[in-house]
Symmetry: C2
Subunit: 484 residues, 2 copies
């Protein structure tokens, strides 16, 4: 699926071809995930009339299936937990994971405004977070807050109810077909397919919506667009699952490229190392792997039962390590680890992705691991935990970690899934889309996963929501302030 209506050739539309505008608003926001809804709220609050377009039958995009974790640097929540952090430290963590490809000015903006965005989500949107600060792979210190119900839907619901208060409803089944530009090249509206049905893209009618100030593109990533992602990484065939919804496709970003937006980092496509091949999509397995095993447990090669990497390494490092073994690895932890994490794995057990065993050798036998080798690996891990030093892979040992000796033991298979597309259209710190010649495309802003540059070669977990809120706010305000 790329074009909303394959019969109609989608080319960019000059304004003088538009005979009739069906509707007019100051700011037209395309996409209703974290970035789009944030931009819409801020554009409204800056005095603009706003229309939000969503191609699916429900709002929230892919954001509603995120785990609702947001990273912020040097927060009172960290202070309360005795964690020392700084904007500079978060900046350097993001650049390290991004292999230095991140656009430094964009990262600085995200990091500097991370706490402000988090606090805005609490104070203004009314989002509630769990009373804990978590550490994810690639972060030097714990700095991640998790929304209630461990779900991005918690944030989306608050955003939609706020928008309703402000008198704005998300328009559903409205799929961007093309941008309209005036004689000066300024984006001045969009053509959308109204009545769009993702299952059957033949229907619907064209609708012309004028944006007197600006359009904000917030249509997310292309993790589920198999043809588009395979041009950048041919390994990502239909045989590699994605944590994204099937509608996470490239067509809106492609329309921006057609009006000469500069594509940045498109070939950097992130796999989630915490995914379980025994369930579809994101699933529940990551609760066990990311929140428990990567901190307190171990990940072992399914053939030789040896650890393969620092389980807290960034996503690319760990995903590559798993893929290099040639088959799903086994993530394991004991009941003490589950207890210390504070998380419930009931949903994982109920779904059958995590299995419970009274003895380590039962676990070994179930997954076909050599039992003696597994025992040796666990013993070696226990030595690391007791000595507070991981001599093998340098993983930091949490202060409350215990040797893995407390039955029952839990196991889960791990195999990476496409999770995030780091690449997208280039933006500047004002969230203006930059063209192939290095100049802003007037009248066009973008925020969130549809943009490239913030995360470089590899995004750190929990930095996506921060990015969406920070640049969604910037895009919304600046779009409202445009002087056509």
């Amino acid at each position: 699926m790329r074009s909303p209506n394959p019969e109609t050739k989608t080319t960019t539309e000059p304004e003088d071809h538009v005979e009739h505008w069906d509707e007019v608003a100051d700011v037209v926001v395309v996409g209703s995930g974290f970035a789009g809804l944030t931009a819409a709220i801020e554009a409204h609050n800056a005095g603009a009339s706003v229309i939000i377009l969503e191609k699916m039958k429900a709002p929230g995009g892919n954001s509603i299936i995120s785990d609702g974790c947001i990273a912020a640097a040097a927060t009172p929540m960290q202070q309360k937990a005795g964690i020392k952090d700084s904007a500079e430290l978060m900046y350097s963590d993001m650049l390290k994971a991004g292999l230095g490809l991140n656009h430094p000015d964009l990262v600085r903006e995200v990091v500097a405004r991370s706490y402000e965005a988090l606090q805005w989500s609490i104070d203004y949107l009314g989002v509630e977070y769990l009373d804990r600060v978590d550490q994810f792979g690639g972060h030097t210190v714990p700095r991640c807050l998790t929304a209630l119900n461990v779900s991005g839907a918690t944030i989306i619901r608050q955003q939609i109810s706020k928008l309703r208060e402000l008198g704005i409803e998300v328009r559903l089944q409205m799929c961007l077909k093309t941008f309209v530009r005036n004689a000066d090249g300024r984006v001045c509206g969009v053509v959308v397919r109204e009545g769009y049905d993702h299952e059957d893209s033949s229907g619907g009618t064209d609708r012309y919506i004028k944006a007197t100030k600006a359009v904000v593109l917030a249509t997310g990533g292309f993790g589920s667009d198999i043809a588009f992602r395979m041009a950048q990484d041919p390994r990502l065939t239909e045989k590699i699952d994605s944590t994204n919804k099937p509608f996470a496709t490239a067509e809106a970003m492609v329309e921006a490229l057609k009006i000469e937006a500069n594509p940045v980092h498109l070939s950097h496509i992130q796999l989630g190392p915490w995914a379980c091949p025994d369930e579809r999509g994101y699933g529940v397995g990551p609760i066990f792997s990311e929140y428990i095993v990567f901190l307190y447990g171990i990940v072992v090669d399914a053939v030789n039962a040896r650890r393969i990497a620092n389980e807290l390494a960034d996503r690319k490092t760990l995903s590559d390590a798993i893929l290099n073994t040639g088959q799903p690895c086994i993530a394991l932890a004991d009941s003490k680890a589950v207890e210390q994490s504070g998380w419930s794995i009931d949903s994982c057990l109920k779904k059958g992705v995590v299995k419970q065993f009274n003895q380590l050798d039962e676990l070994a036998s179930f997954y076909g691991l050599p039992p003696a080798a597994l025992e040796a690996t666990v013993e070696q891990h226990n030595t690391c935990v007791e000595g507070k030093l991981d001599r093998d892979f340098g993983r930091p040992i949490p202060p409350d970690a215990s040797p893995m000796t407390h039955p029952p033991f839990f196991g889960m298979r791990l195999w990476p899934k496409v999770h995030h597309t780091m690449g997208g259209v280039q933006i500047n710190v004002r969230a203006q889309v930059i063209n192939l010649e290095g100049h802003p495309i007037r009248g066009l802003y973008a925020a969130g996963e549809v943009t490239g540059g913030v995360h470089g070669a590899c995004r750190l977990g929990s930095c996506a929501i921060t990015d969406c809120l920070v640049f969604g706010r910037i895009a919304g305000r600046n779009a409202a302030a445009e002087r056509p």
Copy 2:
């Protein structure tokens, strides 16, 4: 420098806007490096009339400053030297270096036709190669032939003289301004700036050239385009030198992106680890580092005098290892290594990039290395050579390698330079340019460094000329066979 004339807005031109064609040919080739000249020869030999456009005052593009090395698999030259190789082995070497991002069908085409292209350059073009088969970093076996004078100019000269025989001259100072498409979207010509001057882009006049069959884009990479490369990798500021000529810029590729060519792997920009910061551009230093030190010598950290990596690792691995030390590393070898390599380093010594020392500690003192640490590193290296096993980094030890004990000793500073841009427009195995929707852009072919996909995340040394010759030939033949 991006637009040949900054005052004129370069937008793509529909055919019905063209009032008058100044000239017509079946095939218009843009660029006169390895790929462009090859395409022109093959298009002519397939019966097409051909025009070749070159923006600079001399033909040959960046190819004339390449070292003229070409990789080919399973050649008689290898057989004669007792080297066992196969297309499959070269394919797997290229995919390993490319981190699996390479387009498999393109790599298979290059590898399968590598020997045929090499032999064509000998038999048809009359190129002479040195009677030796070399091994470069990332190749499992020696498979690289080097043109006489260690220079791509040797190949370019033969191509130009062949074209002259065929009655075709390269048109100089003709810079592509934009593509012209007809009402069906087919590329049917180009607008060029005639009398273009790279030093002063304000001059020249527009010339409209019609291509009745097709246009072949062969304009090379963008290694010297600081603004364009920084959008993909912000570390590559003007402070990082390039081995490319200053005219290796993005403007022609950008014109292809404007007509919706799919950009592939743009953010993968290769640094050459063999470059010396004490000379500009490619220079002569690589003769010492790549042909001598990486096989027989060692590369050490300037602070602790320890080896930093397998010196025969692929370019990305070795460049990153050097960059990570934070300052130029030191490459060193003894006179026996120079002798065994069969190469002369006179030009390196004359230019002063390689220095000669009677004792190792003189070398240490000159470069500020701790002498005892250097001695220990050399001793350890000698043990590896004697045991035919590099226990530290797994570099293969050549059968004729000797311990580093033969004065005089030679040293050179190493600091990576931008060398090759792996990314570019997507092509298929017919060398047709592929658009954002995954379909060929009719009337447009491309070959060489302006394309992306063959080399994935990292190109192996000596595979570029193979790529240019193989896909140049394919592009030329298919362009000539187009039925408009």
